[in-house]
Symmetry: C5
């Protein structure tokens, strides 16, 4: 999984029938403090995350192992909202 | 998923039997405004997208989770046509 | 999928039993005109392609969705021979 | 698989229901001596590894082939704790 | 698949139960002459390859399509030992 921040939304009314009703979030990977570093990917949400939150996302076939994404053409899913990032006893991020 | 723009077509008359009748689109990844940035990949379309459109594509095994691509040797599928990209309340792309 | 050119051959007499009789092609990714650009990968052929041809290859689990590669330890398959690459109404490659 | 070092922890109370009770480790890839080199990823542990240890992790669908991660939205798993790294008869790392 | 050279060994006594008895090889990708170029990955062997040999390895779910690795948390497998690499009628590597 990777740390990412939800930075925006992609609206797409015309989509594969298995994606009806799904919302697409723009996610940028972050460093351990939650600062965005990488280029954006688009992910589906399985945990009720919102714009601005630090999250974890899973990629590839693992992105289909949630009730929301099962058997759908989705290759990235938000599967956790981050409360805390701790490295060497130091808290680098707290929600 | 990734944002991409359909920039062209690949014609291939000799192909694996499971790909008969399929059209191959050239897709370049884009930034959040829809400007092309990345190197081209080739994707199959499941939503009736055309050249010049901003789309979302899924990669890997997730690319096979559409009626069009199911069980076929396809590792990238166009699964949505983008209407709008919004970041921080600002509209960066509108169809 | 990616555009690639078959640039050579890898011979390997000692291989996993599920690969008996398979030929391994060296494939380099190309730009849209068919000029080689990337580092070589090794792919199995499902369409009767030969050295020097511009082809499409699929990667990952999708590489196993052909009769030739089904259930075998193969992560890249040549699934089409390219006739034509067209971008913006211009023909960049013709076989 | 890749060599990595566990450098910290991600706490996430709100997560997909299939991830209840799981701990998320921050892992950085290392060189052959165990010195960290790469950017951090987040992995689930199947072997009882702890912070500071040199481990092996598997990615993608292979990350779901443990009792802990089976059928869950997890794309990286720690599946071994490294005792020794040996290159050319020389020991580059010993636990 | 990719060309790689076995450069060493990783010993890990504490590992996922499905990996009992498995040996982990350090593999570096090579150019077409067999000279190492890339950063090391760790692979399981299904063909009896040894340190110093030029091999082919498969990645991702395809790495689990051998008798040795089936259903195990393994994302890279050595599935062939290279005898010969030929490009443009020229032999770049011979065992």
């Amino acid at each position: 999984m990777q740390l990412g921040k939800i930075v925006g939304t992609v609206v797409a009314s015309q989509k594969d029938q298995q994606l009806e009703g799904m919302k697409f979030h723009l996610v940028q990977t972050t460093d351990l403090t939650g600062a965005v570093t990488g280029k954006p990917i688009v992910a589906v949400d399985s945990v009720g995350a919102g714009v601005g939150e630090l999250i974890l996302f899973a990629s590839g076939s693992s992105a289909r192992q949630t009730e929301t994404t099962n058997n759908r053409p989705v290759d990235a899913v938000i599967m956790a909202i981050v409360d805390l990032v701790e490295v060497g006893g130091e808290t680098l991020y707290r929600k």
